[in-house]
Amino acid sequence: MTLSVRGIGRSFGGFRALEDVSFEMPSTDLLGIIGPNGAGKSTLFSVVSGFIAADTGSVVLDGRPLDRLGAAARARAGMVRTFQVPREFHHLTVRENLMAAAPDQTGEGLFGLFLRPGRVRAEEAAIGAEADAAIEFLRLGAVAATPAGRLSGGQKKLLELGRALMAKPRLILLDEPFAGVNPVLVEQLIERITALNTRGIGFLVIEHDLDALSRLVPRLVVMDRGRVLATGTPATVLADPAVREAYLGGAVA
């Protein structure tokens, strides 16, 4: 049960954003990706989640190659992403945001909606209960009926996580979950993510906040200028001179 990323390359015009990026992780595990600005982390995320096509290489989840699948199909295959800048459905309430993410709803087709009203009602009740559970789990109860556009940055991050959960993935790709989130919420997020991981959901996390990330994940991939620089536990990776050179620059040296 693994996610393996093999030899991914991608250029924009003349600029090589990704070059032969490879790594592997058990899909129930926690893996972090770090790197300086412009290292290609976000591009990698977009390629893995199917929002940008790769020029070369392959993404395989649990033995199934995903390369020919679009973003939606990859999500259905069990790999759901969040966004660096939260993309909440701003007109919908928090609860509606969560309910919208539940997969395979009969009422999402016009025929189902009008021809099988009983089934739609039953599903709605179940999904609503699920959403309420997620709200409680994420401690968003106070804003459950608020349009998502009015949430704080941190609350939106929580909501994104909750939405991803509602889609019932095996693996969640988190794009800078701690960026712009106040320290109290960061702790809460770390704790919630860890709790979810113990339930068997894997996480691939891009993060700038090295400190927070080190406390969350047991293993790190370090990227620089579109390449993988090192892979290993936070301690070993951070001890690597090449990493210190590229990522931490003169600050630590």
Binding site: F12, G13, G50, F51, I52, A53, G70, A71
Partner: protein
């Protein structure tokens, strides 16, 4: 017959190309299809007509058409589009339709709905390599070539032109590299307006001038801009020529009604194969 249709197609295509250039510049940089481009053309045609009546010179008429359309275009930006910069594409589109209607109404009130014509001398065709070419076609092709050369000169040889293309390529990148957006936008709308003005003048000289003339050709210009790849000036002109020639040359086969739909069908076919147009970069996967 084929040769004659080819010549007609090239002249027709140059007009479409100029109009498409105006559309694609705005499309590439301001990121919406400017539905007011057609009526900006009409404004240019009327200004050119007035100048031609006063001076009798096509050159003066061309200058007037460019200036008038450039001003109209810039006003549209300053008064409306600038205020909508952060809105969804649909808002800009609807506002553009509104401006188009306003312009047409103003021209109708000012000049009436009767057709007007450029009083240009008509002459018999000249023989070039066995092809009989109307001298007017040569004049118009010359005008279009000069206008295109000037437009591409601005785009590729001046600093503001390079900045425009940079913004078209990547607005975010351009913002961090210190390009002043207002200056670029003003230059952009002026250039797009001037191109539309020349297109309007040519259409007016070739046919007749009426308040509806620009709107009628808008769809073809859109098709050419999309076909050429949004934001690609060379693509727009190329696609314009392609559509112009295709419309003329294909008529013996598809008939005279469906030739209008041809632009649309070609556009659809190309978009199916290359969703970003002929010269547009292919990116993303949906």
């Amino acid at each position: 017959m084929f040769g004659a249709l080819l010549v007609a197609g090239i002249v027709h295509g140059l007009i479409i190309g100029l109009a498409a250039l105006a559309v694609t510049l705005v499309f590439g940089i301001a990121r919406f299809p400017n539905a007011a481009a057609g009526d900006t053309m009409t404004a240019g045609a009327y200004a050119g007509l007035a100048a031609h009546k006063a001076s009798g010179s096509l050159l003066v008429a061309g200058g007037a058409a460019m200036v008038a359309s450039a001003i109209v275009s810039l006003l549209g930006y300053l008064l409306v589009f600038r205020l909508l910069a952060r809105r969804p594409v649909a808002s800009l589109l609807v506002a553009a339709i509104g401006i188009a209607f306003l312009l047409r109404a103003a021209l109708g009130l000012a000049f009436g709905h009767q057709q007007q014509v450029f009083q240009v001398p008509l002459a018999w065709p000249v023989e070039v390599m066995g092809l009989r070419i109307p001298p007017m076609d040569l004049t118009l092709a010359g005008v279009a070539a000069c206008a295109l050369a000037a437009a591409f000169g601005v785009l590729y040889l001046t600093s503001i032109g390079r900045q425009m293309r940079a913004v078209a390529d990547d607005p975010d990148l351009a913002r961090v590299s210190g390009i002043r957006p207002l200056r670029v936008m003003v230059a952009l709308w002026l250039l797009a307006g001037a191109a539309a003005g020349i297109a309007g003048l040519m259409l007016g000289v070739k046919t007749i001038v009426s308040p509806e003339m620009g709107w009628e050709g808008l769809l073809t210009a859109f098709a050419a801009a999309i076909l050429g790849g949004i934001g690609s000036p060379a693509g727009a002109v190329l696609a314009g020529l392609l559509l112009g020639i295709a419309q003329e040359v294909s008529t013996p086969y598809v008939g005279f009604t469906y030739k209008i739909a041809l632009a649309f069908v070609v556009m659809l076919a190309v978009l199916l194969v290359r969703p970003r147009g002929l010269l547009g970069r292919v990116e993303g996967l949906r």
